[in-house]
Symmetry: C2
Subunit: 385 residues, 2 copies
């Protein structure tokens, strides 16, 4: 038996759910059939009342906790918060984590075959929105026999899904945790996404999105997109204290090789990502971010948009997050309050910028754990031995 930490969910195996019911999308197109790859941690109780849905962010996927094999170097991306005794305690909750439609980790997306053409979907994959994801996730919940989630939880783009769940399926969400998110992107947010898209789409290896058929990939563009993204995930202070103006070697080289440590870090992050992620998926995800704006259909009045929700909310922001700053979370918390919804808003002191939502900041863990304990208590969930 492989050795995993005591508070790890241990070895996990992704599963795939196939759906044959066509899914009508916000863009007007219909996905005739699709797969969703997902993982579960913990056990669904007899009442099916202890399920928690985890929604992933821009570059995330279904592997949120545990290990795929004994040699896996790092556990799932939210392992700090999911496991026995952790904030999302798998001794109490049955956790579902999936890869969204349009993703590149196993769910149907640009790298899947379009049955109608026999060709990869590639750039023909339809634009998907946060609402579309929520609908597809609801079908997965049906498949798993989950009528109502104890909580729907996500950070960043995942938080937008949690919010949308509370509006689209109010009866199916008891609690929603919306972390480091925003009720809509700012012009600056859209601008950064647009730079990322232009970087990918102007890469000569992009071939209008048919790069796989050309036996190539727009790695230069994807690398640049990720480099820009990374700058916005870290706070200026975090970058400063992590790298400062430290040089890679003793002297300046007065050339374009890496001179400063921060350059080395960014290039490495960009290179790694550019070989691991799909460019068409990246484009789709940034568009889903841009489109999200539940208030738009309510004359821009967010308090009106959130009126249908029937859950209890936790809204969390991080002081140094400048991608989705505390002011945006406050805007959401205020709108929920104005709409008479039960909401706790917590602004966590952290130097780690947007990335803080992934990290085990002690106060964040305390707040998150307290929220989930209340969820368990109110739903009468027993802790398994």
């Amino acid at each position: 038996m492989p050795e995993f930490p005591d508070d790890s969910v241990g070895l996990v195996t992704p599963q795939t759910a196939h759906f044959d019911d066509p899914l009508a999308l916000a863009c007007g197109r219909t996905l005739p059939a699709y797969d969703l790859v997902y993982e579960t941690y913990g056990t669904l109780n007899a009442e099916r009342s202890n399920a928690v849905l985890i929604c992933h962010a821009l570059s995330g996927h279904h592997h949120a906790a545990g290990y795929h094999d004994a040699d896996e170097r790092k556990p799932g991306w939210w392992d700090a918060h999911i496991g026995p005794g952790k904030s999302i305690d798998t001794n109490r909750f049955f956790v579902v984590s999936l890869n969204n439609l349009g993703g590149c980790h196993g769910s149907t997306g640009p790298n899947s075959t379009n049955a109608a053409t026999g060709r990869l979907w590639g750039p023909d994959f339809p634009m998907v929105t946060v609402s579309d994801w929520v609908h597809s996730q609801a079908r997965l919940a049906d498949r798993l026999g989950i009528e109502r989630f104890a909580a729907v939880i996500g950070g960043s783009l995942g938080g937008m899904q949690a919010l949308q769940w509370s509006l689209t399926y109010p009866e199916r969400v008891a609690n929603a945790a919306i972390i480091a998110a925003t009720p809509k992107l700012s012009a600056q947010n859209i601008a950064f996404n647009e730079v990322a898209r232009q970087a990918i789409r102007s890469d000569p290896d992009f071939h209008d999105g048919w790069y796989t058929e050309h036996g190539t990939a727009p790695k230069r563009g994807l690398k640049l997109a990720r480099m820009v993204g990374h700058i916005t995930y870290l706070s200026e202070d975090a970058m400063g204290s992590k790298f400062g103006r430290d040089l890679r070697s003793e002297d300046l080289n007065f050339g374009y090789d890496v001179e400063f440590q921060v350059e080395s870090y960014l290039r490495y992050q960009g290179d790694t990502f550019s070989t691991a992620f799909d460019a068409n998926t990246y484009l789709l995800m940034t568009k889903a971010l841009d489109y999200f704006d539940p208030a738009a259909e309510h004359g821009g009045v967010l308090a009106d948009a959130v009126a249908p929700s029937r859950c209890t909310f936790l809204v969390v922001s991080f002081t140094s997050d400048w991608r989705f700053p505390p002011s945006r979370s406050r805007e959401l918390a205020n709108a929920l309050t104005r709409a008479g919804k039960p909401v706790s808003y917590v602004n966590i002191d952290s130097p780690h910028g947007h990335d803080a939502f992934l990290l085990p900041e002690p106060r964040y863990q305390a707040v998150f754990s307290a929220f989930m304990s209340r969820v368990a208590r109110e739903l009468g969930l027993e802790k398994r031995a």
Copy 2:
């Protein structure tokens, strides 16, 4: 006679100064000969005591004020502040504005011929630093018969040159105005520059910098570099109030054509710049920014680094500037104060981000004018009729 506004310096003609004395550079190489293109506004007085040097920023040049011809659509880049009756009053001051070495507007740079090879300098043009520029500017001053500047003035990268002047040639600077600048880049600043460089250098049309010989130019890369730059020049609020989430047409198109106004703006800015500016120059300028750090030779103690200065300083920042935020200007003002130097520091309330230094904000103009009036008074400069 063409009609220009009364407060314009009117028609101006660039001049070129050729230098045959080799210039030893910080990188260890030597520029055997070079040209500097410059403009002057106003008249040098008999005492040669009323000269003001304007230093330009990343994408700037010598054309700071007035018009090159009657049809020129826009005046020079700092026309809001240079002219008869303006902050830098050409009825009092003789203003010198040049294109820096390595530039692409007429001074010797990557697009000039390297006499040693008969080929364009291209990527072989030596790396130039703020100190190198100051040395070359001092030679231009010699040529113009200017022993001591009434003021050396610049915004952003230009402000770094003004600071460096006060340290390298303390006897030659009576006053220095350092606007929207920083005593050194932060890791985040360097990171944004590095993204810009990677965008240019990974463009297949870059050809290791020999693009002109290949009959092409890395326009995609330069466009991306400028788009990233532009996001950092504007404040989040300015972008928000200028564009918000306004759509280009009535409906979302669920595709990658322009949907939001901010995308349209960024693409336009990037396209325009990519055909007007030279990529090798852009690379050099970003490196000059990265390298600037006068405190480095003084164990990181800025107050020690500024000890040689003998001028009076004006340090200006803008509240919404997040590229070089007020905290960085305060750092400089504090170091000058600690070193016992006369310094006025003003933080101007402006929503326009880093770009504010180019704009005619009323309080900025008032502060700038008051500073320059004091300079004129103390140097006994007469206002010409």
